[in-house]
């Protein structure tokens, strides 16, 4: 007996619901809910984490991310312009930079900066400076590619119009190309900020004192002191407090600017 397409779709959907139901039931009956509750939802432990989890850990995460991101934007813009330069050496240096720091795990970069620079130059870098530098270098490699794509998406006619009005290449870039490029790449730049927020957890490799702890390190340290996994939950929620509004912002920006740049169809 042959099924009509509509019947087939109904059967297929029924099977999918059934599978989902089975998975939920299996988890619900096999998990030890009491243990999970004790492990993750210990109110007393959660309360003991405040206010430090906000005033120290969350604050540090935000500060490291913000500083790192600012540096990354600067590096990204510079490297993007170098990649599009008519000077071959600039293009090579920029391409090399992007390939290296996009290809390496962020963890290696953080370690190299934090441990390598003091060894190589004999000076101890400030903790915040080290992590800012590392995040800026890593984020800059990704942002450079994003900004380059944004610049290349600006129709060449915009440049021709500006140049034929007598604008220099630099003025054309600053007043005509970059403002339009940044609009198109605002959503991916926001996503980059989210990624960097999570990468800031690598500060644990360099941090030592209590005051230097950001969220992840704070959570791990707390785990060693209490017999509960609750700190993970609290710290996780703190990350989401930062990242969910950001991804909401990215979606709004995408709707606002995403397709508005197609001038000449």
């Amino acid at each position: 007996m042959a099924l009509t397409p509509r019947q087939r779709a109904r059967v297929s959907r029924g099977v999918q619901y059934l599978i989902a139901l089975v998975v939920v039931l299996v988890v619900a009956f096999t998990a030890d809910w009491g243990a999970i509750g004790r492990a993750f939802f210990d109110v007393e432990v959660a309360a003991s984490l405040f206010p430090d989890v906000v005033t120290v850990a969350l604050k540090n995460t935000v500060v490291f991310t913000a500083l790192g991101y600012l540096l990354a934007l600067g590096i990204g813009l510079l490297v993007a312009l170098m990649r599009l330069s008519s000077v071959r050496v600039y293009r090579w240096v920029a391409a090399l930079y992007v390939e290296i720091f996009r290809g390496l795990p962020a963890l290696l970069v953080v370690l190299s900066i934090g441990v390598g620079i003091p060894l190589a130059f004999g000076t101890l870098l400030d903790h915040t400076l080290s992590i800012t530098l590392a995040l800026g270098i890593v984020g800059g490699a990704y942002i450079a590619e994003t900004i380059r794509a944004g610049i290349q998406a600006v129709p060449p006619g915009q440049v021709e119009a500006a140049r034929s009005l007598g604008m220099t290449p630099a003025r054309t870039m600053v007043f005509i190309v970059l403002p339009q490029a940044f609009r198109t790449v605002l959503p991916p730049l926001t996503n980059e900020l989210i990624l960097l927020t999570k990468d800031s957890s690598l500060a644990f490799l360099l941090g030592t004192t209590l005051a230097q702890q950001e969220l992840s390190q704070f959570g791990r340290a707390a785990l060693n002191q209490v017999r509960s996994l609750t700190p993970l939950l609290v710290v996780g929620l703190c990350y989401l407090v930062i990242t969910i509004p950001l991804s909401y912002l990215a979606r709004r920006l995408e709707r606002r600017f995403g397709s508005a740049e197609k001038v000449d169809a």
């Binding site: 021709e160 119009a161 500006a162 009005l165 604008m167 220099t168 007043f175 001038v263 000449d264």
Partner: protein, 255 residues
């Protein structure tokens, strides 16, 4: 005003301009006609050096554009250019489109730049649209803003690169009217166009180009009314009577 000598331009191994000699006097209106791919846009773009000529010299208003020591950014201030695709700055309001170069290139104060911008906006019949964004305007309005943007720099020469080719037919008239009044005011104009009627009516001279050379140049009565060259005649009959069968089929299809 404009003096072109021995102009050659190649893209890779394709030679698009094969030795152009041309002089345009102050206040003259020269219309450039010819089939697609005949090099007429490239010729125009070589005048303000948006394309770098392979060889030859281009002198505009005393600036030798082809001299490597020529400051093109300065020379271009007095050469307006209007594009087929308008190329209004998409992120700026109409008024900012008119003032940004005055402000950033000529160093005019904001108030003065805005006054000149508004004057020119009124000149192209768009007073009151200062705050609109380019995307909110029709193609014909965008093109008139683009003309006003060039005029705000108070240029000595205006270059038009197929200014009406991207427009819906019913919007062409307004743009041509603006160009007509510009010509009447004595602006030196080079116009690459497919509007044969406009060329016949407004041009002081018409230039017919084909395969990278000037085939025929002279007053419109001659080049359009009574062309000497067979090529010109074929082209004109194709443009003027698009549906009709060409008298001879010796050249590839024109667009």
């Amino acid at each position: 005003m404009i003096e072109i000598r021995g102009l050659h331009k190649s893209f890779g191994s394709t030679e698009v301009l094969k030795g152009i000699d041309l002089e345009v006097a102050r206040g003259e209106v020269l219309c450039i006609i010819g089939a697609s791919g005949s090099g007429k846009s490239t010729l125009l773009r070589c005048v303000n050096l948006l394309e770098t000529p392979t060889s030859g010299t281009v002198v505009v208003g005393g600036h030798e554009m082809t001299d490597p020591d020529c400051d093109l950014d300065v020379a271009r201030r007095s050469i307006g250019m209007v594009f087929q695709q308008f190329n209004l700055f998409a992120h700026l309001s109409v008024l900012r489109n008119l003032t940004i170069a005055q402000h950033r290139v000529l160093g005019r104060a904001r108030a003065e730049a805005e006054r000149i911008g508004r004057e020119n906006l009124a000149r192209v019949g768009l007073a009151g649209r200062e705050d609109a964004h380019p995307s909110q305007l029709s193609g014909g309005q965008q093109q008139r803003v683009a003309i006003a943007r060039s005029l705000s720099m108070q240029p000595d020469v205006m270059l038009f690169d197929e200014p009406t080719s991207a427009l819906d037919p019913e919007l062409v008239g307004d743009v041509l009217d603006v160009m007509r009044s510009l010509a009447a005011e004595g602006m030196t104009m080079l116009v690459v166009t497919h509007e044969i009627q406009f060329a016949r009516e407004v041009a002081d001279r018409v230039l017919f180009t084909d395969a990278g050379v000037i085939h025929e140049i002279g007053p419109p009565e001659q080049v359009i009314g009574n062309p000497r060259q067979e090529r010109t005649r074929t082209f004109l009959s194709r443009v003027l009577h698009p549906g009709a069968k060409p008298p001879e089929s010796d050249s590839p299809s024109a667009g």
